[in-house]
Amino acid sequence: MSAVIQNLVNQPYKHGFVTDIESDVVPKGLSEDVIRLISAKKGEPEWLLEFRLKAYRHWLTMTEPTWPNVKYPKIDFQGISYFSAPKPKKLASMDEVDPELLRTFEKLGVPMNERAALAGVAVDVIFDSVSVATTYKKKLAEVGVIFCSFSEAVKDHPELVQKYLGSVVPAGDNFYAALNSAVFTDGSFCFIPKGVRCPMELSTYFRINTQESGQFERTLIVAEDNAYVSYLEGCTAPKFDTNQLHAAVVELVTLDNAEIKYSTVQNWYAGDENGKGGIYNFVTKRGLCKGVNSKISWTQVETGSAITWKYPSCILQGDNSSGEFYSVALTNHHQQADTGTKMVHIGRNTRSKIISKGISAGFSNNSYRGLVKIGARAAGARNFSQCDSMLIGDKCGANTFPYIQVANSTAKVEHEASTSKIGEDQLFYFASRGIANEEAVSMIINGFVQDVFVHLPMEFAVEATKLLGLKLEGSVG
């Protein structure tokens, strides 16, 4: 490998600071007592505690999945603290938020206050496990949109939470979803009532601050008939030598003619260049297109985490419903990603589209894993999948694992895949036209991810483009 390629991805992690705020941490370990303690601390109703305990008991019977194409030492689930909240945590308005915390968010570039107003973004900030502040709640309330922390939703809208919680990702769905269901501490809740087009993009920023704490947030978004919402999620975490577990669950539900657009820019700490530390990002995201003509669109830009294991999926139950998955996953150094989607076609004339772009650099390993399943009743279903991989240098790996199951002969399924690389010859081609390596890489990468980035909201696209540049800076040059 030439010196030319070696350094492109070696930008130090910029969000690696630790905020010095006293936290209320539950002692390490997991048991029914810990779950009761978490539930009691949060003043939860009985049914939710039952939901947790049921999930926990189921989890005890499960084993960690071993099929992902990733390698890591066994996680000690008793070595994790399952609850961590900034203290004090009574926060009614932005003025009450710890200034230290606000500075943290400033460093993170989270748009809040005036910046949020200008940008038209309402932000629900999850710091470790408790939602600290929700902006714009009032303005949203005027049109009937509920956007609040999960804990508040449990208090203020228990009937909605109870109706939809676990309706897309059942408590025992998989090992990490079961764990999350047992111990989730907070998250975001969003409800768009019938006929309402959410007047602004909703945004949540997640950050893991405490060493050896897990983050288990839960997001639930429901769009009733003819409703629409665009939801943005950003994630960062400080640098620690130890690995931290992030096992979130996101559930989306769309009723007739409703649409949810869910965008993620994930930049959890990825570990150092030797693969020490970093977040294990084991996340279950799933959307249920319950109503006819409804639509769920996932767009994700995954650049962080030591290990990423996630498959934002769509269950296309309503006739004529459609699901989309647009993904850019970048891995560098010793990062590992096994990510993709599941499109499950149940209703008639359901459509799905998958565009996946994997970028591997350094010693990293990047796998696309996707399932397209056409049920017997899904007459006229259509799927198009495109999975492209790009290799930077020659020490990294890219894999594609497409699974296609078709039980209806009128369905149409297309799959395209390609692999390209940025090596010496590609860079030399640009150089021989006067273009220096850094600019060449940026142009090639931006071209590569373009089909996905056009689906990001404008602001996010700008941020994501910068992020890719930062993550790859110095890996060639």
Binding site: S418, E424, D425, F428, Y429, R433, G434, M443, N446
Partner: protein, 257 residues
């Protein structure tokens, strides 16, 4: 055209280069003056393409001896991009495919980068669009090429036209064209060769690296060099190319030995 008083563009003195531990160029001497067309011919593996890449600064090759002067500057001290900006152009035998990068964006970037480096005016997208369309006429290229991804899915002939289009935009002092004729059918060969002829003037020099004589039916060389074993072993005029066509390369090697 050969002119005694033409300024010297390129002087290669005893150039040697290796890739890994394998020596490929073993003492090349070549002088190119403004206005001249040089053809470098020779069998496979003789070092022709390596010579072209070394002149353009390919990082895989290590220069182990000799000098290269370009307009009296030490070319070997310049990075590949600096060479390009200074006026050296390499037309690739196998141009890179870059999916997702639009041809027009790429062409405008290279044009403006080189213009900027030469202290000349850069063009905005609209101005550039007019400009590049004029240049495309020279190569009988469909403007639809601008919308496609750089070389992605282009046929061999389309790629070569796109190479010469880049040459037209960058207006090099020295164009080194590596097997530009390979992969071209006879019509495409004529179009590409005519394009090169129109771009050529008394101010620039062209080095054609080729296997076959047929390109030289369209672009008339002032000198024909035969390369073998990493050296130029014979130099003649265009009649040498015809002789090689009929007799092959072996006799030259024997004569030189």
């Amino acid at each position: 055209m050969i002119r005694d008083n033409a300024p010297e563009l390129l002087e290669v003195r005893n150039l040697a280069a290796k890739i890994g531990e394998r020596a490929i160029l073993k003492g090349i001497n070549l002088r190119v003056k403004a206005g001249e067309v040089h053809a470098i011919m020779g069998p496979n593996g003789s070092g022709k393409s390596t010579f072209a890449k070394v002149l353009a600064g390919h990082p895989s090759y290590e220069v182990t001896g000799g000098d290269v002067l370009f307009e009296a500057r030490n070319l070997l001290e310049l990075s590949p991009e600096e060479r390009a900006r200074a006026g050296v152009f390499l037309g690739f035998q196998y141009p890179m495919e870059v999916p997702g990068v639009s041809n027009s964006a790429f062409l405008r970037l290279i044009y403006n980068t080189v213009q900027g480096a030469r202290g000349r005016e850069e063009l905005d997208p609209l101005e550039f669009d007019d400009y590049v369309r004029e240049k495309m006429k020279l190569l009988e290229m469909d403007p639809a090429f601008l919308e496609r991804s750089l070389n992605a899915g282009f046929s061999g002939g389309e790629k070569k036209r796109n190479e010469i289009l880049q040459m037209a935009l960058l207006e090099p002092k020295l164009a080194i064209l590596d097997e530009t004729d390979s992969g071209l059918d006879i019509d495409a060969l004529r179009v590409v060769a005519n394009g090169i002829n129109k771009l050529h003037s008394a101010d620039d020099g062209i080095v054609l690296v080729t296997h076959y004589q047929r390109l030289l039916n369209y672009i008339e060389p002032d000198y024909v060099h035969v390369m073998e074993g990493g050296r130029i072993i014979k130099t003649g005029d265009k009649s040498l190319a015809l002789e090689l066509e009929s007799r092959g390369y072996d006799w030259v090697a024997k004569e030189a030995a």
